[in-house]
Symmetry: C2
Subunit: 228 residues, 2 copies
DNA sequence: TAGATTGTTAATCGATTAACAATC
DNA sequence: TAGATTGTTAATCGATTAACAATC
């Protein structure tokens, strides 16, 4: 197929395939992988894998499968992971600190290259070799360090203001951990990670699961009663 | 409408409306709110808000809007937030610690009630008044503390095993922070939060944004050239 | 050639949205 | 009554999936 925009749902799954492929590559040294195997690892169905991959081009071989290394490269390229995108964290509280020292980022090729806060107490402190700088220096740092991703880890009240400063500095990609919605121009991408929201959604399904279990139990009792 | 399952997409937005409503309630003391206002706060469109809310029942008043307190209560109830769901964190490393001391959970009614690890080094250590216990005690703790949500913050290799122990202990809701897919029986809900994946998706859109900017620049140059 | 597996089609399903009658 | 806003319908759009011809 090639060309024409890749559906959002597909883009969201490419990193999952990427991880599965890395596992295959580092593992038993298999040279090819089938959509069926990939699907099992990613927890989706095989038709979806083939459809998703077809948006990148025809990189498989009928009767054989996909060449692991080649597909790995293609997905990496498609996701833009052949370049590096320096990131800044704004808000170095509890969560910001955890993010700043989180190994997972560097392992997957993301470099945290600046930390910002406004609290005099923490300014100048170093985390993983990086000093915490004042938010006022954001714009110059973005230019100097080529920062292209902003990670917001502030309290909710500050998030919108920080988002605006990031946009003003020219940042086009924002990862928002603050528990509030930020509004940005349409050419800026925001992804939101909200722990409370995840728990609340889980609460809904937990409640439903429990309701089902309770109903089943009631039925069982009724059945026993009828028997007696 | 009432009854018949609420679409997944709607469930995922209810917490966002909930937060917006809390803001209205704590704010200027407005008694009602329109779908238009709610939509602006939640960053969606008004038709979607009305459709979503209609799955809960007809809680609005034509010409007036929605009663803030009443709607707040209905969403809280629908999400199962009138009960409390004690949660356990498994894997008290970098991220686990941040989660254990994250205020956002308790503020939104989730209580972390047990911490587990397997590393002798950290066992017995206290975080926020809770001791880190050995994973072997998981099952009894789940029963004793009535734990219904498991939060996995282990390295990827351990995640599947931990998930199985949670399932075996009777936990039906899992929040997975480990960068790997876990497989569970169909009656267990898993939500996955993966920071690297979020960054990789962002990388894709960042790359696309940059490609557009580059193309625009090329066009501009061409236009200037033609003029000259 | 026989068996395996892709890439693509087409059917189906679910989510979004505009529009508007109902009704405060 | 006039203005506002919901709840619902129906059209549209996008995502999922099964099925299978193409092809290694």
């Amino acid at each position: 197929m090639r060309n024409r925009p890749i559906p959002e749902a597909t883009v969201a799954r490419l990193p999952i395939y990427l991880r599965a492929l890395l596992e295959v590559a580092e593992g038993r040294g298999e040279l090819t992988v089938s959509s069926e195997e990939l699907a099992a690892m990613a927890g989706v169905n095989a038709a979806k894998v083939r459809k998703d991959l077809s948006y990148l081009g025809s990189y498989g071989t009928r009767g054989v499968g996909y060449d692991v290394e080649y597909l790995l490269y293609q997905i990496t390229r498609e996701l833009g992971l052949t370049q590096d995108w320096p990131a800044a964290i704004i808000g170095i509280g509890n969560l910001g600190r955890a993010l700043a020292s989180y190994k997972g980022f560097s392992e997957r090729g993301f470099r945290i290259s600046a930390l910002f806060d406004v609290d005099e107490e923490v300014l100048g402190e170093q985390i993983g070799g990086l000093p915490i700088r004042h938010l006022d220096e954001l714009k110059e740092a973005v230019v100097e360090e080529g920062i292209s991703i902003g990670i917001i880890a502030t309290p909710p009240m500050a998030a919108q203001e920080v988002a605006e400063k990031l946009v003003d500095a020219g940042v086009k990609s924002i990862l928002n951990f603050a528990p509030s919605v930020v509004n940005v121009p349409p050419d800026v991408s925001v992804r939101k990670v909200d722990l409370s929201i995840e728990l609340q959604i889980l609460s809904f399904y937990q409640q439903r699961t429990q309701a089902i279990a309770t109903a089943r139990e009631a039925n069982r009792r009724l059945a026993v009663q009828r028997k007696v």
